[in-house]
């Protein structure tokens, strides 16, 4: 009796398992990009704080960059919360994540376009710009995968 029930359930169970295991690729890409953003932002703010300690950046300059970093952290954590718990990104979730990321992408673009802040140290300037471009690229990859999928 039980064995026959199990036999009947087995194909259904197998399909469910495979479907659950094959998580949405957009979800994976988004999650991976959020981790990239978190790590790049962490490296950026550490570099800024160290530069402030050593006197390469003054407090005002450091605060300006850290404010952008703070916005990236807030938006990233928010996007992560929307993504968490989903096995597939539906249209509403995708729109929500794109909406969360849009102002951050604009803020980074603005910072890069306005030459960020007058950082005189060339090496640091390059490092900050490279980090912001990395974050910008990760944000763009999220937006691209969500809009096109």
């Amino acid at each position: 009796m039980v064995a026959s029930k199990l036999r009947n359930l087995a194909p259904v169970l197998l399909v469910c398992l495979v479907l659950a295991a094959c998580s949405d690729s957009a979800l994976k890409t988004t999650s991976r990009a959020l981790l990239d953003i978190a790590q790049a932002n962490g490296a950026l703010q550490t570099a800024v704080i160290e530069s402030n300690k050593s006197g390469v950046l003054n407090d005002t300059q450091a605060a300006a960059i850290l404010t952008v970093c703070s916005k990236i952290n807030t938006a990233g954590a928010e996007a992560s919360q929307v993504t968490r718990g989903l096995t597939k990104l539906d249209t509403t979730s995708k729109t929500k994540i794109v909406d969360i990321m849009a102002p951050i992408a604009a803020a980074i673009q603005d910072a890069l376009a306005k030459d960020l802040v007058p950082i005189t140290d060339a090496a640091l300037r390059q490092k900050v710009q490279a980090s912001l471009v990395t974050i910008q690229t990760a944000i763009n990859s999220i937006r691209l995968v969500l809009v096109s999928s």
Partner: protein
């Protein structure tokens, strides 16, 4: 054995099988990425908050 007992017996095994399938290709799951990202975002936020506090400046408001 009724259906409920049957489901209760199967669910833990199913969860394990899902984990095995998900990790078969050596990649981390989306949830694992998000766990790491959240931990990093929290560390980042604390670092910034500490810096602003140490410099007597108001912490940035979210967005």
């Amino acid at each position: 054995m009724n259906y409920l007992a049957l489901i209760n017996a199967i669910l833990p095994i199913a969860a394990n099988i899902i984990t095995i399938i998900r990790n078969q290709d050596g990649t981390l799951t989306a949830v694992a990425y998000l766990d790491q990202a959240d931990a990093q975002f929290a560390t980042n936020a604390k670092q910034i908050s500490d810096w602003f506090a140490a410099h007597g400046k108001p912490a940035p408001t979210p967005n």
